[in-house]
Structure formats: C-alpha cells, structure tokens
Symmetry: D2
C-alpha cells in the first residue's frame, strides 16, 4: 500500500501559524478513502450501493506541528476488525519525524442499520483480514 501525501494548504493554518488541529481529522479521512481505493473498495462505490460509514470514534495525538507547504505522509492500517466495526490506525510523518498518530473506529450502515461486512462485502472483509494478519 502506498502512503497518502497531504500538502498543507495556506487556509489550513491558524493564527498560531500552524496547521489547525481539526484538519488532521480531515487528513485521516483523505488517507482512509485513498487506502480503501487502493484496496479496490472505493467509498463512493459503497455509497452508490446505499451503504454509508459513519465515524464512531476518533483519537489523535499531536507530536509535532506542521505548517503551510509541509508534506505529511500518512500510513494507514487496519488494527481491529469485528463483525460490524473496523478500527484504523494512522501514522503521519514529515520526512522521518512522526508528527501525529491517530485512530478511527467505523461501522457501516444500510438503511440506518448495521451492515455485517463479512456478508455484505466479503471480498473487502477478506482483504482486511489479510492485511490484519500480515501486520502481525
């Protein structure tokens, strides 16, 4: 899997001159959707099938500030997988410097009800399992 690169925009920086912390949550989404694309399960395909994936939890630890023009390299990996939830980890680097580590927890919903990934998207589920195993 290719890491995702986000170049910090001018408008993403705040009065302190650094990337506003809320934007990292958006970078996580960008990286996650890119990672799903790379796995062959683009989110817009799910949406077209009527499945949405709300975020259940977010955690973010800011290690080092970034600013305008910095290239943030984001490595995404699945770290937990249950019948209806998936936990994803993010390591964000600027060169060799770890600038942020984060996690997000997701479920999948169809008509407002939880979707069992293994049944609804078995190929995606297997790909996630494989990635999880390889990581261990």
């Amino acid at each position: 899997m290719k890491p995702y690169i986000h170049i910090v925009r001018y408008y993403e920086c705040d009065r302190m001159g650094i990337t506003h912390h809320s934007n990292y949550i958006r970078f996580m989404e960008e990286a996650r959707l890119d990672w799903m694309d790379q796995m062959g399960f683009g989110f817009e395909r799910m949406e077209a099938e009527g499945v949405v994936s709300p975020v259940v939890e977010i955690a973010c630890r800011y290690k080092h500030p970034t600013t305008f023009k910095d290239a943030i390299r984001i490595e995404v990996s699945v770290i937990e997988l249950s019948a209806i939830k998936i936990r994803i980890a993010y390591n964000m680097y600027m060169g060799d410097t770890l600038v942020c580590t984060a996690e997000s927890l997701h479920c999948f919903l169809e008509n407002g009800r939880p979707v069992r990934l293994q049944e609804r998207f078995p190929d995606f589920y297997e790909a996630l399992c494989r990635q999880l195993t390889e990581a261990k």
Copy 2:
C-alpha cells in the same frame, strides 16, 4: 428583518491572524438561511420538498479585516428577482465599520430542473417582491 450576527471563531482565522476570506462566503450562507427563516421559508423545508438552491454567482469585496471574537453584523436584502433567479446583497458591519459587501445569485432546482418560484412557492415569491419594493 433582524440582521444576522456571526462571531468569528478562532479556527476561522488564518496565518495572517485575520478571518480567512473564504469564510465570508460561509457567513453569507448563514445570514441568507437565517433571513429565509425569518421570512418563513426555511431552506430545510424546501429541501424536504425536494427543492435545492445552488449558488450561481458570488461576489465579495473585503473592506476591513476582522479577527477572532469580532461580531460581524450582516444585513441581507433581495436586490433582483426574475422568474428563476434571485440576487441577494449582504452588508457586513463591525460596529459602524463596513467590513465587507457581497452579492450572491441563486436558482432553485427540482429534480435537476429550474423551478419557477412564483408557481412553486408563490408566498415566498410575493414576500420577496414586497421586500424588493420596500427597498426601492
């Protein structure tokens, strides 16, 4: 009509320490939706009926910078009305200082096709006409 007040948020300010110019476009939307509410035609009611109102044009002249905690008072008025389009003007003040003047042009769409306001929402159309006349 009561003017709309937007208090500038910390995250709306940029590296120059001032409200990022793109945010005024959002303040315009806030003020416009509040103004529609005051006229009794909330945008969420239109949306519920399947009518959306995309922005066709925007123009914005920045007169004076604002920053964190500034209270921007926005006066909204209709300045042009045709069968399918409506042009709205915004005067934004901080105390007595004019900080920004702006305009937006809108159409209304139902199933992707232009809606004739006068037929689809006659009460709203009349209220707009009245406002337009009073302004002259």
Copy 3:
C-alpha cells in the same frame, strides 16, 4: 458555568446529510474558548501576552448524528491538571440526547517552551483547581 450552544450550519453537513465528524473538534474549541472566557481567562489575552496553547491530544466518541439547525449544547469541565498540562472533557447534548463525548489535552507554550500555569497564570490555575475539586 453556562454551557455553550453551537447551531449546526448548512456547510458543516456532509454528503451523508449529517454534521461532518471533523467539525465536532471545532465545536470543542469554540466551547473551550467560551469556557475560558467565562472563567475570566480569554485565550486572546494569553495570545497577547505571547502564550499559545496547542492541542496535544483529542478523543471524540460520536453517539448520535446531528444535522443542519440542530442546537448542540456543550458542557465543558477540567478533568485533569498537572504542572504543564490540562485535560478537558466535553459532553455534547441535543435536548436530552447525548450526541458526543470528547476530551482534549493541552499545554501552554511561551517562546516555544512549556509554561508552568501555576507560576505564569496563578489565578487561572487556582480557578482550574477549584473547578476540579468541585467536580469531585
């Protein structure tokens, strides 16, 4: 302390029709800065003295979706206080429904170096201690 109210804006909602999860991080900031104001220690006063307060950690659990026009009531409280760090908790409600719980961890920096709150802002530190005690 008066809870902070955030009315969800149209532009804060995403393609799923709900408030985009990244915006809650911004609501936390709004509520936190309002809470500091209510304690008499406005952030812009600290900034004027050359002290900034970067966010060190964020955690957010989304319980219930919100959308355009929803009024989110945010209760802020300090839950941990050390020499150089402060942890703040947020309970966000819509009516009686808990929509989100969150935490943030902050330090204070002056010329890039950690500030000891107790020495630099003794009144603020004491007010925080008092709040912490009352909560227990």
Copy 4:
C-alpha cells in the same frame, strides 16, 4: 505554466452531494499560490520578508457542479496589474467542461501599508508584466 489540479475531498461536499461553493474560493487560493511558486515567488518567501497579500475582491461564477473525487484543473493568469494591485483570473475545468470561472483582486502590505510591487519585488513585477503581455 502548469495548471493546478484539485481533487475534491469527501468533506468538501455538502448536503446536496456537491462541492460546497465556498470551497472554490479555497481552490483559487491553492491554485494562485502554486502559480506564484511556479513563477519563482512563493508566498511563504514574501511572508518571511514581512509582506502579506490580503484578498481585496473575489468573484466566482459556478457553471457546473462537481463532487467527491472529481479532478478540477485550474488555469491561472494575471489579467490586470497596477502599481499596488493585481487581478487574477481562474478557469476551472473538469475534462473539457468549464465548471467555474473566477477572479480575485489582491494588494500587498508591509507593516500594514501598501507595497509597490515594482519597487519591492521588481523581478516578480516584471514576470507579471511579461505574462500579461503574452496573454494579449
């Protein structure tokens, strides 16, 4: 000059499912700063020298909606140049479809006072003149 490409993010789309109109103002900034880089006059270099460049006016005509994953190609050109102001035009395409045309007017400030580009950044001024002539 190479056109700038912006890929629309999920969080840039609104409840109507399309790119929120305020975001085009941000795409303009991205494209403009990239264009200044390509001309060899990066905005962060100006900022380092104490010169900032606030936006004075913005105008934007939305021709065609875009959404998540769309690649917007933005062509930037200078269309007016005076002693202290510069007007920039933007043509935004998705494939061959013109999705948005826009303009922005800028001044340059040093210590809060207008900067005469020709004196302060003569190389940049000449490069702008050259571009303006070539366009005619």
